[in-house]
């Protein structure tokens, strides 16, 4: 069983992020790390390959400046190889532009049975890329998976909903987006880290994928960032004086959040 995992390399969330005032996008010129929300997909893929008794995990990523630090982390966890698309023409790509690049890169992986993604990335997101990738590849897609099982040529998914989960099945190959917490990502071992250095990372440009530069980046983006402003300050919480019935308000509040 061969699984492709789409991973994003993002600025370290531990460092305060900054927006570029000219492009109005997040600065991504420093060292990038593996997006934590993608580590769940990598772990899920590794477990599925182990359960199937064979196959390998291939990573697909798009990042500026040929950045591979985040990919090395996922390779150290146990992925076999990676495809990195890095090209100046990709700067400013919108969700669809990103999906086009990822879909083309995924097509280069021979015999992919399953494509896993996170539901969305942590640094800048629309949450639409997984479905766009599935659309471009003309594959069935399941979102918000909290449990995945492969049975022959069918993937069985517990799909997270507000009230619980739905049991969903679809034929392979398919695109499945996994929620955070679907599995506990393993820590890379030192041996894994050392082995990751010699694992192949195929670095490609837009032209290598057969895409036209006008379809991606700022040129191909169907969106424009008109202005950016500071997030509003957090509002003060609501204070309820307890007259003996405050618990009812708390229950109603929690019920409204659907956490009860």
């Amino acid at each position: 069983m061969n699984v492709v995992v789409c991973v994003k390399q993002i600025p370290d969330p531990a460092d305060p992020g900054a927006l570029d005032p000219t492009t109005k996008t997040l600065k991504r010129d420093g060292k990038l790390i593996l997006d934590e929300s993608d580590s769940y997909g990598v772990e899920m893929a590794l477990q599925l390959v182990t359960a199937a008794g064979g196959g390998e995990v291939t990573l697909v990523s798009m990042a500026p400046n040929g950045e591979v630090s985040g990919l090395r982390t996922a390779l150290a966890m146990g992925a076999a190889k990676a495809i990195l698309v890095s090209d100046d023409a990709l700067a400013g790509s919108d969700a669809l532009g990103t999906a086009k690049v990822l879909a083309k890169a995924i097509e280069r992986v021979e015999g992919a049975d399953l494509i896993l993604t996170a539901t969305e990335s942590s640094d800048g997101y629309t949450g639409t890329v997984p479905e766009q990738v599935a659309g471009l590849l003309d594959l069935p897609s399941v979102t918000f998976a909290k449990h995945i099982e492969v049975d022959g040529s069918t993937v069985k998914v517990q799909r997270q909903t507000e009230a619980g989960y739905d049991d969903v099945e679809c034929p392979l190959p398919a695109v499945v987006s996994v929620t955070a917490g679907v599995v506990e990502p393993r820590y890379p071992s030192f041996k894994g880290i050392m082995a990751a250095k010699s694992k192949p990372v195929d670095t490609l440009t837009v032209a290598d994928l057969g895409l036209d530069a006008s379809q991606v980046g700022w040129a191909g983006a169907g969106q424009e960032i008109v202005s950016i402003e500071e997030a509003p300050a957090r509002e003060a919480g609501e204070v309820i004086e307890d007259d003996g019935t405050a618990f009812e308000k708390i229950v109603a509040y929690l019920d409204n959040l659907k956490v009860l």
């Binding site: 820590y187 890379p188 030192f190």
Partner: protein, 339 residues
């Protein structure tokens, strides 16, 4: 000589720091004080699986076959979280001692088990009255004059002894000669014991640097948050100076610790001097930092309710272990003047 850590060493350090920050928060240290054994085998296994515990075990026995310079950044991370466990004893002292000296039967029995995280080891060298972690150790390596023995943990008779650090328990240990396997003796036994002592002292110095760095971090957080007279107390010069003194001490200790690891790893003849320099600098620095941290916390941390307490106590315990600052300072003087 390139005096900087390699990319791999830095990556190993960051990987361990990530694991420890998630799996060994301050609550885990607090728990270790209260729990019957104070040791969680899963945490040890996670470190072993990563390759930390078997770092110094030869590759032929399932380890990574790496040395002191690779280990030192990891031990600083171990100190930073006040990790409760015998990593100094197992990985810095016992594993290399067995790898270099033990007959094949002893090495084959213990080294693969250490690398796999199945055997925790501890050590008692001559002049060391009590043994840390003997209650959870699967293996004790003990020195009697020129002879070094390996004794299975279940053959030890233990008497608990008071320890300043409730997460680092101490025991006096007895065992029967019939249960002890000889590792090495004679001239080689003395050398092995001396080498083991230097490794333990050097490794403990690295742990102390981590403890000190964390106490400074905790204190900086506190003095920024704690306000008096309408401003954070960290804006007062008197507080700033305490913290600057603390940082200065650690900054001077850190390179001596790295240098000692380098000397040990390369078998330099001055390794004993370099280790003593590191241990006295690190012990002094950590004790000064502990005092400054407690004072800047307005003495919160004097009792167990505040996490700082656990870092203070570990600092006091380790500063006094493997030779205190005064002992090592005398040894530096002796090695320099009598040479």
């Amino acid at each position: 000589m390139r005096f900087a850590f390699t990319d791999d060493q830095i990556l190993f350090r960051d990987t361990v720091a990530d694991l420890l920050s998630k799996e060994c928060p301050a609550e885990a240290v607090r728990w270790a004080w209260a729990d019957e054994t104070g040791r969680r085998r899963e945490l040890w296994s996670a470190l072993a699986e990563m390759g930390v515990v078997g770092l110094t075990v030869p590759e032929a026995h399932g380890g990574l076959g790496l040395g002191e310079v690779d280990l030192v950044p990891l031990l600083t991370e171990v100190g930073r979280v006040a990790f409760p466990g015998a990593l100094v004893e197992t990985t810095a002292v016992v594993a290399p001692l067995l790898a270099e000296n033990a007959p094949a039967s002893v090495a084959e029995r213990w080294l693969p088990a250490i690398a796999a995280g199945e055997a925790v080891a501890t050590v008692q060298l001559a002049g060391q009255p009590f043994v840390a972690d003997a209650h959870v150790a699967d293996l004790l390596v003990a020195q009697h004059d020129d002879r070094i023995y390996a004794v299975p943990g279940d053959k030890l008779r233990l008497t608990p002894q008071p320890s300043v650090d409730g997460a680092r328990r101490l025991f006096s240990v007895e065992f029967d000669a019939a249960d002890a396997e000889l590792v090495v003796n004679g001239e080689a036994g003395w050398l092995a014991a001396n080498h083991a002592f230097d490794r333990g002292a050097g490794a403990t110095a690295a742990v102390l640097v981590g403890l000190a760095e964390q106490m400074i971090a905790m204190t900086v957080d506190y003095v920024v948050a704690r306000r008096q007279f309408g401003v954070p107390i960290g804006s007062f010069q008197a507080v700033k100076h305490h913290l600057a003194d603390a940082e200065l001490k650690v900054s001077f200790a850190r390179p001596t610790v790295w240098h000692a690891a380098y000397s040990l790893a390369h078998g330099r003849t001055v390794a004993d001097r370099d280790v003593s320099l590191a241990k006295c600098f690190a012990s002094d620095a950590a004790e000064v930092v502990a005092r400054k941290a407690l004072q800047c916390h307005g003495a919160i941390g004097y009792t167990t309710e505040h996490d700082l307490h656990f870092w203070l106590k570990r600092t006091w315990a380790l500063a006094a272990s493997w030779g205190d600052a005064a002992w090592h300072r005398r040894r530096v003087a002796h090695l320099l003047l009598d040479a």
